[in-house]
């Protein structure tokens, strides 16, 4: 049988050609991701490593045993865990609510859609400074709202007990726009005919949400959970505008990445910084695998 023209042309593509197209991306990936990652892994096992001279005294688990006996690192693990555990579910639920409202054809919905996406296009630091004012003890909006309900003012930024809640509130607000965008995209993928069918079948709005919308959105919700878990595990930037670059008002609000930063830039203990980076990587990887495993059954049609 004669080979078709397309087949004949396909033969001429040599093995390396696809690689050639991928090269620009792969070079970037190798230089800026793979090499630093492997290097960090290596550094984390080097004892008494000196960045300037490159000297070290041997390989071992020393950096790891040191960070796990460092109260600041343990504090960072605890704070990061609490932050992820609260920010991810709360921002997902709130985003779901916002997305379902935005998805309805109401007046000014275009305006609202734009408004909800503002946090995405503004820098965390700039927005953080705004939030710093919102959290202000005397003049902040938050305390002003609390006064409506007869509640006492809270010293969000200077009372260490309220530092984490403040960070979490800011984090939730920060995570919402991307989550809403993803969920809205998920909403658009649902055939509106299902809603008509469900209405004719006698389903109330509540039934429709829980029995039709939520299951059909499950794959998208799964995606947002993974994305948000990864990004909130790396909470760090948010600390700077709120607490003047310190980990909380009493140095009690370390996060894993803040600890990493502190070890690297302030203390010059590269081994510890690298070890904490590796620990963070392992935590995020395990969390993601667990989530993907659980969500395997969420894509259900």
């Amino acid at each position: 049988m004669r080979k078709s023209k397309a087949e004949a042309e396909q033969k001429q593509i040599f093995f390396g050609e696809p690689l050639l197209y991928l090269l620009p991306f792969l070079i970037g990936l190798l230089i800026f991701t793979v090499y630093p990652f492997l290097n960090a892994l290596l550094i984390s096992f080097k004892e008494n490593y000196n960045l300037m001279t490159g000297a070290f005294t041997g390989f071992g688990w020393g950096s790891y045993s040191r960070i796990f006996s460092d109260a600041n690192f343990i504090n960072g693990l605890k704070n990061t865990a609490l932050y992820v555990l609260i920010v991810v579910p709360v921002s997902t639920v709130l985003s779901l609510l916002a997305a379902s409202l935005l998805n309805q054809k109401v007046k000014l919905s275009g305006l609202f859609q734009t408004a909800y996406f503002v946090p995405m296009v503004t820098s965390v630091v700039a927005v953080g400074l705004v939030w710093k004012w919102m959290f202000n003890y005397d003049y902040g909006l938050l305390n002003y709202f609390l006064s409506f309900f007869g509640l006492a003012k809270i010293n969000w930024l200077n009372n260490p007990a309220y530092n984490l809640p403040a960070l979490i509130i800011f984090g939730i607000w920060n995570k919402m726009p991307l989550t809403i965008i993803l969920l809205l995209a998920g909403y658009q993928n649902i055939n509106p005919q299902y809603y008509v069918a469900a209405r004719v079948d006698g389903a109330k709005p509540r039934n429709i949400f829980f029995r039709i919308t939520l299951p059909l959105l499950a794959p998208t919700i799964g995606l947002t959970l993974v994305v948000n878990t990864i990004s909130s595990s790396m909470v760090f930037m948010e600390l700077f505008p709120l607490f003047n670059g310190n980990p909380g008002s009493a140095y009690s609000l370390y996060t894993i990445v803040y600890y990493l930063y502190d070890m690297f830039y302030n203390q010059w203990r590269l081994g510890l910084a690298a070890a904490s980076a590796v620990v963070l990587f392992l935590i995020v990887m395990v969390l993601t695998i667990i989530q993907l495993y659980i969500q395997r059954n969420w894509q259900n049609y």
Binding site: N191, Q193, Y194, V196, A197, A198, R199, V200, D201, G202, A203, K204, N207, R211, I212, P215, L216, A218, N300, Y301
Partner: protein, 353 residues
């Protein structure tokens, strides 16, 4: 349940989808809503279901005015063109869903599912998801779901248009059987005249949102009330010969062919008319009315269709048996039967005879 539409009008912005429609759909019958695309068929279905609110007019179900009732309170079952089965639910869950919403106890639900599974023959598919079903199977599930809450009206929106030709024929008979067995008042939207004729008790034919005729399929075919109806039904399409009234006779354009006018209606001299003749009402021989010249012959199943010229500028088609010796270019005497020959006004389409 009898469905009465009373002067129903629906506008979408400036377009009038349905225009002053008054029609009664008999209880327990299968009524087809037929018409070309954009004639308002689906809108009528959606008005009956309550999905689309009326602009004006009223809808009655058995003397009860349901015009303002939402779909879920109308006791209807709806089958969508693309079935709209919930993709994340199994067949069983799909069929149970409307009953769950009505808080039917579980035992009763499962009994009903069994009954429906038997009616539409999907017992073996209960555990599957819609994506694992063929088009025909999805169709059956959609019908079962629509019937689950024992509606009094079953509405089907172009239910066969997503199926391939062969399956369509089978499903058509299935829908007929299901309707007969369940004796439910059924409304069936289609643009396919053959489909409508073959399964419906009654056909409502529409054009641009206006009712043209409501009758049993045979009646619609044999006694069309206007030219549109005569033209819309039948394969091959009805022959249309243009002519005028001249000296009390019909004179075909582009010829000297004239024949007597058989109508009680008063006709003006010079009035433009259309003589519409079904292909099967044409035959060679008998008492010939005029002479035709064979232009072409086509095989069409067991019969053959002959295209022949009438006078200088008109053509028509007629059936002949396969053994007929007529050759291309041959002249032959053309006679018309008593049935399947109609006279319409050329402009209004009104029928005179």
């Amino acid at each position: 349940m009898q469905i009465v539409l009373e002067d129903v009008t629906k506008r979408f912005g400036a377009t009038v989808a349905v225009d002053g429609l008054s029609v009664t759909l008999e209880a327990g019958k299968l009524t087809a809503v037929l018409g070309p695309s954009g004639c308002g068929k689906t809108t009528i279905l959606n008005i009956i279901s309550g999905i689309v609110p009326l602009t004006s007019g009223r809808v009655f179900f058995n003397d009860v005015d349901v015009s303002r009732k939402p779909p879920e309170k109308r006791s209807i079952g709806l089958v969508f063109q693309n079935y709209a089965l919930y993709p994340h639910m199994t067949v069983l869950q799909n069929i149970c869903f409307p009953m769950e919403m009505q808080k039917v106890p579980k035992r009763e639900r499962l009994a009903r599912v069994e009954e429906l599974g038997e009616l539409v023959q999907i017992q073996s598919l209960m555990k599957r998801k819609p994506s694992e079903l063929s088009g025909g199977q999805q169709q059956r599930v959609a019908i079962a779901r629509a019937l689950a809450k024992r509606p009094e009206v079953l509405l089907l929106d172009e239910p066969l248009s997503n199926l391939d030709a062969k399956l369509r024929l089978g499903m058509r008979e299935e829908i007929r059987r299901i309707q007969r067995e369940s004796k439910i008042t059924t409304v069936f939207v289609t643009h396919d005249q053959e489909e409508a004729s073959s399964i419906a008790d009654d056909v409502i034919l529409l054009k641009e949102g206006v009712l043209q005729q409501k009758a049993a399929p045979r009646m619609l075919y044999n006694e069309p009330e206007n030219l549109f109806v005569a033209d819309f039904l039948g394969t091959p399409p009805i022959n249309k010969l243009a002519g005028k009234i001249s000296n009390g006779q019909i004179l075909l354009d582009g010829s000297e062919i004239a024949f007597p006018l058989e109508t009680e209606r008063e006709m003006r001299e010079g009035q433009e008319i259309v003589l519409a003749v079904r292909a099967e009402s044409v035959f060679a021989g008998g008492e010939p009315l005029f002479e035709g010249t064979v232009l072409e012959r086509y095989a069409l199943g067991k019969d053959e269709l002959v295209l022949f010229s009438v006078g200088r500028e008109q053509q028509m088609r007629g059936f002949v048996s396969a053994g007929c010796p007529l050759q291309e270019g041959e002249k032959f005497p053309v006679a018309l039967r008593k049935t399947g020959v109609f006279l319409f006004d050329a402009h209004s389409g009104e029928r005179y005879a």
